[in-house]
């Protein structure tokens, strides 16, 4: 017997989360342009709507009506597959992120409904697996275009993502050791009194650095590297295919920020305000940080990037796990 209320609730939640994420993705472009503009003492978009608020919609319409070009020598199948392959994992990660605790929607529902689509007991593994899958989009996109710049971008992208994914995953292990669970909801519940960032400050900083590298954002945007590789892996993409790469990048930005919130900043916990608001505040502070970093630092050289990844990040992450284990053993 199928529990229809569960199906309907899940469906509604999927639609709502999808719509919210797409809206956030669209308006993140606006936020990014505004923040970077103000950091450079400019104003950013101003003319489409009040303070440029309709700019993302205008951009979207423009990208929809652009000519969709597929290069003659491109591998057509992979060329079309690549943007899809980068956006779908980016959106799928939102299935396990806990946005809040149980809610009754101001007493509208009889039984409190959890504010998450699915409660997976291997939530973190699921997210990292999808993040790993997302890097195929970059690799295929760069390779299939049959363009040397795109290929260079894809090569760099794959190398960077493999090396930083390792450090990213290792930096999270400390948190998993403390909370003793891979379930994101249980990790958040374990932080009710003290956030994990207090126990794991090194891991938090490492997570942010590796997260930025994983997102391919400045200062680690080697796969794009406008000044050297034209636009890197998406040099030959146009129209909505190009937009999908960008939507994936911004969706990944929200994922990394919400995962950092969940793992280190206590998720939805916070005084006075409702859980969802606390979650959003924390996520947007982290997203602001990512944009702020982008506006501040220049791009690192590729060999320096690899050196940082393998010779600094991975050893520190391993040392962090060791110290965490040692302290836990001594305290218990």
């Amino acid at each position: 017997m199928i529990d229809w209320s569960l199906v309907i609730f899940t469906f509604v939640k999927v639609v709502v989360v999808f719509a919210c994420v797409m809206l956030c993705v669209a308006y993140l472009t606006w936020i990014e342009r505004k923040v970077i503009g103000h950091i450079q003492i400019r104003v950013g978009p101003m003319y489409a709507g009040w303070h440029g608020l309709l700019q993302p919609i205008a951009d979207g319409i423009k990208l929809f009506f652009k000519e969709d070009i597929i290069p003659r020598n491109a591998n057509k199948f992979l060329f079309i597959l690549a943007p899809t392959l980068s956006i779908i994992p980016a959106l799928m990660t939102f299935a396990v992120i806990p946005f809040g605790d149980y809610t009754t929607f101001f007493g509208l529902l009889k039984n409190p409904e959890p504010m998450r689509i699915a409660e997976l007991n291997v939530g973190i593994l699921y997210i990292f697996a999808l993040a790993g899958l997302g890097s195929y989009g970059v690799v295929f996109g760069g390779w299939s275009a049959n363009n040397k710049y795109a290929l260079m971008g894809a090569l760099r992208g794959s190398a960077q993502m493999i090396s930083y994914e390792l450090a990213l995953t290792l930096s999270v292990i400390g948190v998993i050791m403390i909370s003793g669970s891979l379930n994101l909801v249980e990790i958040v519940n374990a932080q009710k009194n003290v956030w994990n960032v207090v126990y794991q400050p090194v891991a938090f900083i490492m997570y942010l650095i590796c997260g930025i590298a994983e997102l391919n954002r400045t200062p680690f945007d080697m796969p794009e590297a406008e000044s050297e590789l034209v636009a890197g892996f998406h040099a030959d993409y146009s129209s909505m295919k190009f937009a999908m790469f960008f939507m994936a990048e911004y969706a990944n930005m929200i994922t990394v920020a919400s995962l950092a919130t969940t793992l280190f900043l206590g998720g939805w916990h916070g005084p006075f305000l409702p859980p969802l608001v606390w979650f959003m505040i924390k996520v947007f502070i982290l997203i602001f940080f990512f944009i702020w970093v982008r506006a501040t630092y220049p791009r690192v050289r590729f060999d320096q990037l690899m050196k940082l990844g393998w010779k600094v990040m991975v050893p520190i992450a391993l040392a962090n796990i060791f110290v965490t284990g040692l302290v836990m053993m001594l305290l218990n």
């Binding site: 923040v35 503009g37 103000h38 003492i41 104003v43 702020w292 970093v293 501040t296």
Partner: protein
Amino acid sequence: MIKPLVKGLWITLKYFFSKPITVHYPEEKVGSFPRYRGLHIIGRKPDGSIKCVACGLCEAICPAKAIKIEIGELEDGMRYPKTYILDGWRCIFCGLCQEVCPVNAIVLTPQYENAAYKKEELILDRDTLLKRGDEVKI
């Protein structure tokens, strides 16, 4: 290594909270400086007739060959420009015509918004230049 990174973040944060220096151009204008050399005018004498005596010096000195004059003569022997065509597209705004003019008839204005949709809009004849002289403030 950490200190300069934090310093950089601090500087950008400081600028984030400072007031933007953007001038919203079509709504706000900076204006031009008094000695800016923009599109020309031709002045009038106190009695309202054209100042220009059609000596042809501006036509001769113009490095871009933007000025074409046809000379006319009144009954009392005064010369005046029958046609005076200034091609605003050819003009390089060097100001030599103003410098060479013996009667200060042709003057460059500080007006800097000289874009036009059609080429013809910037080919100025005698009457247009005179009218501009009445309208544009120097």
